[in-house]
């Protein structure tokens, strides 16, 4: 982590400084936050890094032993964990692809003026503001095999969405698409409204077709912001816990975060969980890095 070096305060303001110096104020404003984040985010991670090399179990009182890399070795050769990663990958691909298509589609439809546009846009944003755990809960009601409205509307009889091993994961993904397409829509709308009108006018004068205009003007100009949405949603979908955990107990829908939770707080295999947490953490940080990079790029535009 970079240090807060004492450099380059604005000389104009220093000349005008009375009371506390700018340097004092800067440190006073910034350092508590950094310390807080280090104590409550970074320190625990260092703590768990230590445990990841032990066979510590939080529900037993017997002393733990240092086991070196054994936890990591076992995890990486555990088929069960790999299948959790495969399930997670499937889930990420289906749900993020769904969100991108539905969200961008909605944005294309909304990108024109019509009465009550503001109200409708806000209504469409409601799902993503809700608690994922509670959303998962009430989608159970919607998916209910015997009297759920989904089966009734689509005439599916008593299809058991959430307890059928083949469909459970996709049922969760559908709910996630419902919840997060509005996010992609919101970002896409911002991207679309930033496309200069004169480009469309020029295209219209040239009698360019809809498809041509879309692929040559709209898409290239919106793609940076779509990429932001894609990376952010990928990262969030990879971490998914709440919605899947409250919706189904099917092993075929056991995402990596759920596996981690069970290992840590149901089987109390603490040392190994810390190791698994680190494997997950490294993956998330890699995606975060990408996200911030593109976020800064779009911001600079």
């Amino acid at each position: 982590m970079a240090s807060v070096a004492l450099t380059n305060l604005d000389p104009a303001s220093r000349a005008a400084a009375r009371g506390w110096s700018d340097l004092t104020i800067r440190n006073l404003f910034i350092i508590p936050t950094l310390v807080f984040l280090i104590v409550f985010n970074i320190f625990p991670l260092i703590y768990s890094l230590g445990y990841s090399f032990t066979n510590f179990a939080a529900n037993r009182s017997e002393p733990w032993q240092f086991v070196g890399l054994q936890n990591y070795r076992e995890l990486l050769s555990d088929d069960h964990i790999w299948s959790n990663f495969v399930i997670t990958a499937k889930y990420v691909i289906v749900s993020v692809a769904g969100q991108m298509v539905v969200g961008f589609g909605l944005a294309l439809l909304l990108n024109r003026s019509f009465p009550m546009k503001g109200l409708i846009t806000t209504l469409l944003l409601l799902p993503m503001m809700m608690s994922a755990a509670v959303v998962g809960l009430f989608w159970q009601l919607l998916y209910s095999p015997s009297w759920g409205p989904i089966n009734y509307v689509f005439g599916l009889g008593d299809f058991a969405w959430l307890s059928n091993p083949d469909s459970a994961l996709y049922a969760v993904a559908i709910t996630d698409i419902w919840m997060w397409s509005p996010f992609v829509m919101l970002l896409s709308l911002a991207g679309l409204s930033a496309v200069p009108q004169h480009l469309y006018e020029a295209a219209a004068i040239d009698r360019a077709g809809w498809w041509y205009t879309f692929t040559r003007i709209t898409l290239p100009l919106v793609s940076p912001i779509l990429l932001i949405a894609l990376i952010f949603r990928t990262m969030e979908a990879f971490k998914t816990f709440d919605i899947a955990y409250t919706m189904t107990t099917q092993p075929t829908a056991e995402l990596i975060a759920i596996r981690l939770y069970k290992q840590a707080f149901q089987q109390w295999d603490t040392g190994k969980s810390c190791a698994l947490a680190y494997i997950v953490l490294i993956m998330v940080l890699a995606i975060t890095n990408l996200y911030v990079k593109y976020l800064n790029k779009v911001k600079e535009r």
Binding site: S3, V4, A5, T7, N8, S13, A16, A17, R18, G19, W20, D22, I25, R26, F29, I30, P32, T33, F36, L37, N41, L45, Y47, S48, L108, L109, R112, F114, G118, I120, T122, L125, P127, M128, M129, S131, A133, V134, G136, L137, F138, W139, Q140, L141, L142, W147, P149, W178, F183, L186, L187, A204, I225, K239, A257, A264, C274, V280, V284, K299
Partner: protein, 318 residues
């Protein structure tokens, strides 16, 4: 889009608007379903075919807030007559409200709801307060490695909750913070602080430096300028950030599930735990869900002009 000219373009435009309306109805249907179930008589909640139109009643909310037991024999008509309207609704369902003396015994729901309020409000105040100062620092002063520090700050937000929860659980157990409001508040502040710094920095960057410089020339100290010039200018941003932080803390599930079980449990882990075994009473669960979602729905409307900023950590504004 280009100005509408030809008749085919007019038709296309109309079709698009119609599609938007249909999509909106589809997106709102699940919310309508949970909201309407909260007002349904018990038997209509699980009817086949599903009931869309019905005479609404508030009995699920009475059930939500009270402890009840099944009646062995029908209620004494005199007792029934003397009971207030809401208690009659419970008698109608073949149950009676549990009481200690004359006081109605409340269910766990109001408790959990209060816990959610306490934790969300206090953590929001702290996260936004600290975030505002820090954002000002980042916005106005040159800081070596600023980009790295901001990345560090944002990355703490991106950590998967379960990953952080494992060591925090062990540490909290050592110092006795498990199942306490303070423990949860600390976690939520840590989670929201990074968000509040990023969002507030965007708002701070938009306040012209000249305002403070003018104040400094007029003899204000930098601190006075901050409190008297910058903070009032940033009021809208602070309010928007606060609502975002509140919603995040209000909705949070994983930390609450792991760190609390009774005393400090918030509504998100509590509401799904009501399902339990046997046939769940969906009307009561829906009533609890409806009340829990209501503040978020209201706040979403208040926030609508800031939503884009909020979801991109202040990086993109309308």
């Amino acid at each position: 889009m280009a100005a509408v000219r030809t008749s085919s373009e007019v038709a296309f435009n109309r079709a698009a608007i119609a599609a938007v309306l249909v999509a909106t109805l589809i997106f709102l249907a699940p919310i309508y379903w949970i909201a309407s179930t909260a007002f349904k008589p018990k038997e209509l909640a699980v009817s086949v075919p599903p009931t869309v139109l019905f005479e609404p009643e508030v009995t699920p909310f009475v059930r939500l807030f009270t402890k009840r037991v099944q009646m062995q024999k029908p209620v004494d008509p005199q007792v029934y007559e003397a009971a207030p309207w809401w208690e009659k609704r419970i008698y109608d369902g073949g149950e009676r409200v549990l009481k200690v003396g004359k006081d109605v015994q409340l269910s766990q729901y109001p408790d959990r709801f209060t816990n959610s309020l306490i934790v969300a409000v206090i953590s929001t105040v702290l996260a936004v307060g600290m975030g505002t100062f820090t954002a000002y620092g980042f916005s106005r002063f040159k800081i070596a490695g600023e980009a790295d520090l901001l990345f560090f700050i944002l990355s703490t937000r991106m950590l998967p909750p379960v990953v952080v929860a494992i060591p925090m659980f062990l540490m909290y157990r050592m110092v006795g913070l498990n199942d306490s409001h303070i423990g949860l508040i600390i976690l939520y502040v840590a989670f929201n602080l990074s968000f509040s710094v990023w969002l507030m920095k965007g708002f701070m960057d938009e306040i012209p430096k000249e305002y403070e410089e003018a104040a400094l020339v007029d003899g204000y100290t930098r601190m006075q300028a901050f409190f008297k010039i910058v903070l009032p200018e940033a009021a809208t941003g602070i309010a928007a950030t606060a609502v975002f932080c509140f919603i995040t803390a209000w909705n949070e599930y994983a930390f609450a599930l792991i760190m609390t079980n009774r005393r400090a449990q918030t509504a998100p882990p509590f509401i799904p735990s009501q399902i339990g075994s046997g046939l769940p009473d969906w009307t009561t669960i829906a009533a609890g869900t409806f009340l829990f979602l209501l503040p978020v729905a209201i706040f979403t409307f208040l926030l609508r002009n800031h939503l884009l900023r909020g979801v991109t950590f202040g990086a993109i504004r309308k």
